[in-house]
Amino acid sequence: MTDQEQIVGAAVADQRDAVTPAGEPEIDIQAIKSGIQQAVARRHAAGQTSFINASARLLELLSQDVSALANGSAEGRFRLQPEFIPNSDDHYHVRDLLQYHDRDFVWNAYRALLKREPDGEGLSAFLEKLRSGRFNKIDVLARLRFSPEGKRNQVTIDGLRAPATIRSLYRVPVIGYVVELVVGVARLPALIRSQRQIETHLIAQQERLANHSNELRESLALSLSRLAEEQKAIARAQHNQLAALFLTQNATRNGSVPGLAADTGDRRLVLDELYASFENQYRGTPEHIKEGLKVYLPLLKDAGITSDILDLGCGRGEWLELLREEGWQARGVESNRAMIDNQRGQNLEIVQADALAYLRGLPENSLRAVTAFHFVEHVEFAELINLLDEINRVLKPGGLLIVETPNPKNLVVGACNFYSDPTHNKPLFPETLEFIVSYRGFVRIQLQYLHPVEGSPFQDPGEASQALNSWLFSARDFAIVGWKPSPETS
């Protein structure tokens, strides 16, 4: 090693020392890392699993392109004859073309010699002659090459002239016969012709079979990719539902339910129980409530809706009971656990979840009716809009929405009774709600006033009496009925 190299080498060592961490860091990173590994191991040992990995893999699967299935089958198409690629120098040997049969042969002969696709007439004339055995392939090539069009194209084709000349001699009177006889004896033309007929027939049959098989493959691939798409949609919907459930549970576990941020799970249950008892005492008996809800049954019946019905804020489930008595299939969503517990004996299908979160987990166009009785007055305005949008999304076209809520036009309700429920937010004005429902995309909206107060002392037709009657004794509730637009309704 020269001095120069030694100096350079020292400089290299110096450089590397400077970059790699010099001296011991005060922090023991290895200890931190093993602490992290232990924490993850404890998590696994405690049986806590994370949905993240499975979800990410699912998304990866769902993102794969199923159209590849159909493309794959195109590549694997049956080909009985090799593909013909025209030579750029217009120079062929007869063998290049004789390797093709039947339709492919005529087609490729046109492309090679006339540099175009055959016209329908030419194609069928040549095919007919070939299949009958009157022409052989040499005849076809000679006809095309020595036609005026073929001469203009000046394509060189080796090995054609000699056999073509012999074949053309057959057509010269007298000599032709002699020649054909001589050649014929040597080559037994009749035998050859019949053999040729069989051969061409066979090839035509095979061609048809191959086509049929290719069509089958294509339709199978199409069905497969449709099936895969459907499975994907189902997997997505299931994931969304599980995800909504996870979020609800996580929110409950961590006490971060909107509006109850500081409440622990236990505290939440205490509140739920309190409200359930309050409802039991003041909302009226289940029979009374069922009676009031019967008014909506004809709406569903007339529309032929007997399944895929969801009731938001179903409470003790009176409406679900009524529907079950009709033999219809319905389920409810209720966030109050104590309320659900109250109906446990009935075995109704009720999910404990936040209505909006639950709706978000449902696939679109999956329900035929969504109902909400005395529910919307509990939610904030912005959430109401979100709810309507989600309902519109999950309803099938032509699906039904029914919303019932207290009528503030009855002053006793609006000024007084409404506030008997501490969880009520604000009364909704009938025309306002009607407008909002229409504005969020529902059609054929109806506003119905329900449950008038009985025993009004203001019965006479005078103006003052009528006004008092309407202020104090008119309908206690009103309902908005709307439909998701469908091609028939629009």
Partner: protein, 362 residues
């Protein structure tokens, strides 16, 4: 040492390549050396970027120096390195393996493949000096046949001091200073940068450790990777962290400064880095790092953070959790990062390494 020309394909405001090229020029100019930057294209006003065609008027003496900054496939470089009668230096910034772009962007795939081929051609032609951003890059040069005794590691010049001296963007501070723990990631959104793993790890952290948390994904998104960007957003939705993940896109330096001030943890799950400047930005800002053991990342991070061997979402989530919860450790790693920055990556330190390496030309 007479004149020095620093050559690269393109110079643009704020890119890591430009910071390095301009930093080299400034270090030389400070010592009275006539140094110019030559590039095919540029959007800079100051300093002047010289057109390629004039480079042979500038480099005339055998003692003049041409430094070629190699970061992507660019064909004129080899000709100039071979054609000019002066000393030649390559500064190797590394090139992302083209396989990361396969089926995603044909342009990137081609440019990166070309860049790797040109690296080999440059080494085959021979340079007087081989400079690398990191040991990792240097290993690649040596593997290509570079002379070990003429190879030196010089970390890239940067503008971190300027970034550190900026007033943080108040809008950004106000928007995200709401008590939620901030996990920060800074890099362009590209397939090799590991955003898929980042989102998985954050979702695990958010759902199982701390719902009072937010992930800021800072960095420009390119049209060429639009499908990748869409995929990431779909993933955010699928993993139920829509309310907690923010894609900021490209942001101002003042906003970036705000992000480093807000961050509890800096995460880089990148799969390939020749150096990774944002890691050094995080160190300078005393933000502890969580990252994966790939390419040059471990040597850049040193003891300023946790470098995980396995690419595993739960491990990464647990690491984030530890650094958010254990305040003392967070501060300790932050201080270690700052110490490491000042010792190895401060501009003065890089200048010394750069000039000492050039001294080997004589």
């Amino acid at each position: 040492m007479n004149r020095v020309a620093i050559l690269t394909s393109h110079v643009s405001t704020g890119s890591a390549v430009s910071s390095d090229v301009l930093g080299m020029r400034a270090a030389l100019a400070k010592r009275g050396i006539d140094a110019r930057v030559y590039a095919e294209s540029s959007d800079l006003q100051e300093p002047k970027i010289w057109p390629l065609g004039e480079i042979d008027d500038f480099l005339k003496e055998p003692d003049d120096i041409l430094i070629y900054h190699h970061s992507i496939g660019w064909s004129p470089a080899l000709g100039l390195l071979q054609g000019l009668k002066c000393k030649t230096v390559i500064k190797y910034h590394n090139i992302t393996p083209s396989s990361f772009f396969s089926g995603i962007s044909a342009w990137h795939e081609e440019k990166c493949r070309e860049g790797r081929e040109q690296l080999q051609a440059i080494v085959d032609a021979g340079c007087d000096l081989y400079l690398s951003d990191s040991e990792y890059n240097q290993e690649e040069l040596l593997a290509a046949g570079a002379d070990e005794f003429r190879s030196f590691v010089v970390p890239p010049f940067h503008e971190i001091d300027r970034l550190q001296s900026l007033d943080a963007d108040l809008g950004m501070l106000d928007q995200y200073r709401d008590g939620r723990a901030i996990v920060l990631s800074v890099s362009r959104v590209a397939p090799h940068k590991g955003h898929v793993e980042l989102i998985e790890a954050f979702a695990d952290y958010h759902h199982y450790h701390n719902q009072n948390s937010r992930l800021l994904i800072v960095g420009p998104e390119e049209e060429a990777f639009a499908a990748h960007s869409r995929r990431l957003r779909e993933m955010v939705q699928f993993l139920l962290v829509e309310d907690a993940v923010v894609f900021t896109g490209e942001i101002s330096d003042a906003a970036l400064r705000a992000c480093y001030l807000l961050a509890s943890v800096f995460v880089s799950p990148s799969k390939h880095e020749g150096f990774c400047l944002p890691l050094v930005e995080a160190m300078a800002a005393k933000v502890p790092i969580v990252s994966h053991d790939s390419a040059a990342i471990p040597e850049t991070v040193g003891a300023a953070g946790i470098v995980l061997q396995d690419r595993d979402a739960e491990l990464m989530a647990e690491s984030i959790n530890l650094l958010v919860k254990d305040e003392a450790m967070n501060v300790q790693l932050g201080i270690e990062g700052r110490r490491r920055y000042e010792k190895h990556f401060a501009t003065s330190s890089i200048e010394t390494k750069f000039l000492r390496a050039l001294g080997n030309l004589n």
